[in-house]
């Protein structure tokens, strides 16, 4: 039995929607899981009751709400609440799709760089456009930290500008690489169990205990990473938006 850890990332077109230029626009398994995530979030947030004393599902919805709200208030101030729907959508979309993706035989949207890059660019342009709209040219103060001696200021500015434009790269690659590496590692370790069992017989089943234990541990780690990466994505979005709201540091 051959381990193929890459197979899980394949995009399978389910049906074709149409063409834009010479690109075929297909409804793929990735699209399916995007809509599953949207549906689950909508169900959680809209269909979970409005009782005075919340049940479990309603508690989850309210905890998500307050978690994201307090993250924004803590990192971007009260003015950041303007972006509450955006950050909440980003956080929930990534978190739910990641958690769905940890279930065996499912597809994880964030294992495709194009998706994470699109989300990161959405944040990047939101920051850029809102920052320029709100602060005008003062927005460029974010490249000029206060209290830096004049003779190293050009160097600092160069680094600041470079890091600003590299933000979408690190923002997207962090999520993408974490999810991709985690899923590959899980698949490889889980594959070892089956491979040992099929190739070595009874001895293999005994030997398979170790990779099985590792798989269980890795699975727990991946559950944590699935949530954590969504949180990291959201908190970085807050921090970037904070620059657009208060560019003077």
């Amino acid at each position: 039995m051959k381990i193929d850890p890459i197979h899980q990332f394949n995009i399978e077109p389910l049906f074709t929607l149409g063409h834009i230029g010479n690109h075929t626009i297909a409804f793929t398994n990735s699209s399916l899981y995007m809509f599953i995530a949207v549906l689950l979030i909508a169900l959680l947030m809209v269909a979970s009751g409005r009782d005075l004393v919340p049940g479990r599902l309603q508690s989850v919805a309210e905890i998500s709400y307050e978690f994201v709200a307090s993250t924004i208030r803590g990192n971007a101030g009260a003015e950041g609440m303007k972006f509450f729907p955006l950050i909440f959508s980003l956080f929930m979309f990534i978190c739910v799709s990641n958690l769905v993706g940890v279930v065996p035989y499912t597809f994880t949207i964030a294992t495709h760089l194009i998706v994470t890059a699109a989300l990161a660019l959405l944040v990047f342009f939101t920051v850029l456009i809102y920052g320029l709209y709100k602060n005008g040219l003062k927005f460029f103060k974010i490249f000029v930290p206060s209290g830096v001696p004049i003779y190293i200021l050009p160097l600092v500015m160069f680094i600041e500008i470079l890091s600003f434009f590299l933000r979408p790269v690190s923002h997207s690659v962090r999520l993408f690489a974490n999810m991709l590496a985690g899923h590959i590692a899980l698949k490889v370790f889980a594959g070892f169990v089956a491979m040992l069992g099929f190739s070595l017989g009874a001895l293999g089943w005994v030997g398979g205990v170790l990779p099985l234990a590792l798989t269980v541990a890795l699975y727990a780690l991946e559950l944590l990473v699935a949530f954590l990466q969504a949180y990291v994505f959201a908190i970085l979005t807050c921090i970037y938006l904070n620059d657009a709201i208060h560019p003077g540091h």
């Binding site: 929607l17 949207v38 947030m45 307050e66 909440f88 959508s89 495709h112 194009i114």
Partner: protein, 188 residues
């Protein structure tokens, strides 16, 4: 279309792109640019839908529920505070009432005691006055009795002196001389 894109875009995947849909030997799926357009379109639709659901329905709804709960809790706390204040006020009123009653009772007690004291004092004074009057009367009587007695003593002494002189001298002495001699000797 996969071929053209694979060749145009990525050198890394260029060599393998001929096998479209094949898992083995195909491009590493996350870097296969032939899927980008489909994914971007689905992502745009899904994310815009999610954003609309979240901003129009979900967040106002959940936020409203949380606010309603917060208001209810605050209202209940305010109500409890109000009731507590009321009971405190009632307790205070009761205590002042009690204190008033107590001081009233004390005042009445004091008044009665003073009245009784004054009455007994007056009675005592009247009695003392009466006794003093009686005492004075008695003293006066004693004094009169004494003066009477003294004047009798003088008369007796004068008579005795006159009689003694007559017996001794055989002459009746002058009454005035006897009297003055008796007075002088009484004065001592």
């Amino acid at each position: 279309m996969a071929e053209s894109h694979g060749e145009a875009k990525g050198q890394k995947a260029g060599a393998h792109t001929e096998a479209e849909g094949g898992h083995h030997g195909g491009a590493f799926p996350p870097f296969d640019s032939s899927n980008y357009a489909s994914q971007l379109v689905s992502l745009a639709i899904a994310f815009v839908a999610l954003y609309l659901i979240v901003s129009r329905i979900a967040l106002p709804r959940v936020g409203g529920t949380i606010d309603a709960r917060q208001n209810k809790i605050e209202g209940d706390l305010a109500e409890a505070q109000k009731l507590k204040d009321e009971s405190d006020a009632a307790l205070k009123a009761y205590e002042t009432e009690l204190a008033n009653a107590r001081s009233n009772a004390q005042a009445i007690g004091n008044e009665t005691r003073e009245k009784l004291n004054a009455a007994s004092e007056a009675e005592r004074k009247a009695l003392e006055d009466k006794l003093a009057a009686k005492l004075a009367d008695a003293e006066k009587q004693i004094a009169t009795t004494r003066t009477n007695a003294m004047s009798n003593v003088r008369g007796i002494a004068a008579d005795a002196a006159g009689a003694i002189v007559q017996q001794l001298a055989g002459v009746t002495p002058d009454a005035n001389a006897v009297n003055s001699a008796v007075d002088a000797s009484l004065k001592g």
